[in-house]
């Protein structure tokens, strides 16, 4: 499937700043940089815990208890 894109407006000064920041890095694309930062930021806002089944979570907890790491 082809990726779809949409345009977003940024202050030109900010755009230039990002341009300067990514120049000479492995990926000097401003758009890629912005997309990456936004993805990371969205990820951080969401749940930071991995989703495991409740039984798995219990198992982890039981082992930590058995070893005396938690009460």
């Amino acid at each position: 499937m082809k990726k779809e894109f949409t345009a977003v407006s940024l202050p030109t000064s900010l755009y230039r700043e990002i341009e300067d920041a990514v120049r000479g890095t492995a990926d000097p694309s401003v758009a890629n940089y912005i997309a990456k930062v936004l993805r990371e930021s969205l990820k951080k806002g969401g749940s930071t815990e991995e989703v495991f089944s409740p039984e798995d979570e219990e198992k982890v907890k039981d082992r930590l208890k058995a070893l005396g790491y938690i009460d």
């Binding site: 492995a26 990926d27 990820k43 951080k44 930071t48 815990e49 991995e50 495991f52 979570e57 982890v60 907890k61 082992r63 930590l64 070893l67 790491y69 938690i70």
Partner: protein
């Protein structure tokens, strides 16, 4: 809590019906026997220690790691995690086929879904990873003796290989849960392959003043001759923690892994691993993961400038020493006094004293720790 490297903790430990099926099937598959180090690699992949790796590196990722210190998806990765077999073994395996991976005891440890077989240039690999082709370097020596074909593909773990230190063997899922239960948001990881002296204690406690918890994470596994034996490292840390650390703020677990002695590249690798365990910070000292004089003293700190996207924060420590005038452990950053006031932490000198059954000065080593080491018949690797 910090996200695992790549955003997701890898879990390739088979369970339930999938495990039963794999166990049955594995007996009918062609088998490759692993050494202890590769067996640890398999487990570290399966339990998420090496997230985002799901198996041994493909040729494309291997090239990318050598050339750019990143996986082909651009994620920081500095050490090739590969499985090498001799040509005859490789010729007997077909791409697309499943292969049983046996641990050193000959038990089935995992299944490899073979996606690729490829060769590699030993001199180039050594030069890029270790910065040298000198066979006196233990990492280079290993490559020189490594078989010539690399097998790639995802793995599924069937059986963990037990260690004598099960109590300290925690998976990233377990450490993350543990940090959460302790209410720690920020945790500093400390990598070690040594028994602790007061300089280490100073570094750990300095770092701990900035964060919620301290995660002491000794590397257990193949090391070089003259390094402290694993059980001595663990028992000396137990004694140090018991006598001098706040238990609610400290935890220790082992990392079953071979030291590569790749200096700067290994420092990044160590940071990624600690990030997967849930550490927000990692202590990087002078000549981290170095050996001999192959790396500049602070190369392992400077390399972090190339990885602004690492997410785990390195805490850099300079060389530290005891200053008689300051009356404490200090570094050149905080002590204005001259060399004549300094007592250096010289591993070899401390070792010689301990071997002679003499207590090192209390400014250098806690007497409780010294006693543990001296009570050992042979505290060092042969």
């Amino acid at each position: 809590m910090i996200q695992p490297h790549g955003g997701k903790l890898i879990d390739r430990v088979l369970k339930g019906a999938a495990l039963d099926e794999a166990k049955k099937r594995a007996g009918t598959l062609p088998a490759v026997r692993l050494d202890a180090e590769s067996t640890s690699d398999v487990e570290n992949i399966a339990t998420g220690v090496f997230s985002p790796l799901e198996g041994f590196l493909s040729r494309k990722d291997f090239r990318s790691v050598l050339d750019r210190m990143r996986l082909s998806n651009n994620l920081a990765w500095t050490i090739p995690v590969v499985l090498a077999v001799d040509k005859k073994t490789a010729d007997g395996l077909s791409i697309g086929e499943d292969v049983a991976l046996l641990n050193p005891a000959g038990e089935i440890a995992a299944i490899l879904h073979l996606t690729e077989k490829y060769g590699y240039d030993k001199a180039e690999t050594a030069q890029k990873v270790f910065g040298t082709v000198d066979a006196a370097h233990p990492g280079v020596a290993k490559i020189v003796n490594m078989p010539e074909v690399l097998l790639a593909g995802p793995i599924d773990l069937i059986r963990e290989t037990p260690t004598p230190y099960q109590k300290y063997k925690l998976s990233p899922r377990e450490t993350r849960r543990l940090f959460q239960e302790k209410g720690w948001t920020t945790v500093v990881g400390f990598q070690t392959r040594n028994t602790p002296h007061i300089g280490h204690e100073y570094v750990q406690k300095s770092a701990l003043t900035l964060v919620d918890g301290l995660f002491i994470n000794p590397v257990i596994g193949k090391k070089k001759k003259g390094d402290y034996r694993d059980e001595v490292i663990l028992s000396s840390y137990e004694e140090l923690i018991r006598n001098y650390y706040v238990p609610e703020r400290t935890t220790m677990a082992i990392l079953m892994m071979e030291m590569r002695y790749a200096g700067p590249r290994e420092a990044i690798f160590h940071a990624v691993i600690r990030k997967n365990f849930g550490c927000s910070h990692i202590i990087i000292g002078r000549d981290h993961a170095g050996v001999g004089s192959y790396y500049a003293p602070f190369a392992a700190q400077e390399i972090f400038a190339d990885f602004p996207d690492l997410e785990i924060t390195p805490l850099f420590f300079r060389s530290f020493f005891y200053c008689k005038k300051c009356g404490s452990v200090v570094s050149d950053k905080i002590c204005p006094h001259g060399k004549e006031h300094q007592i250096q932490f010289r591993g070899t000198e401390i070792r010689d004293l301990l071997l002679r059954g003499e207590y090192p000065p209390a400014e250098l080593v806690r007497p409780e720790v010294a006693k543990i080491i001296m009570d050992e018949k042979n505290p060092f690797n042969e």
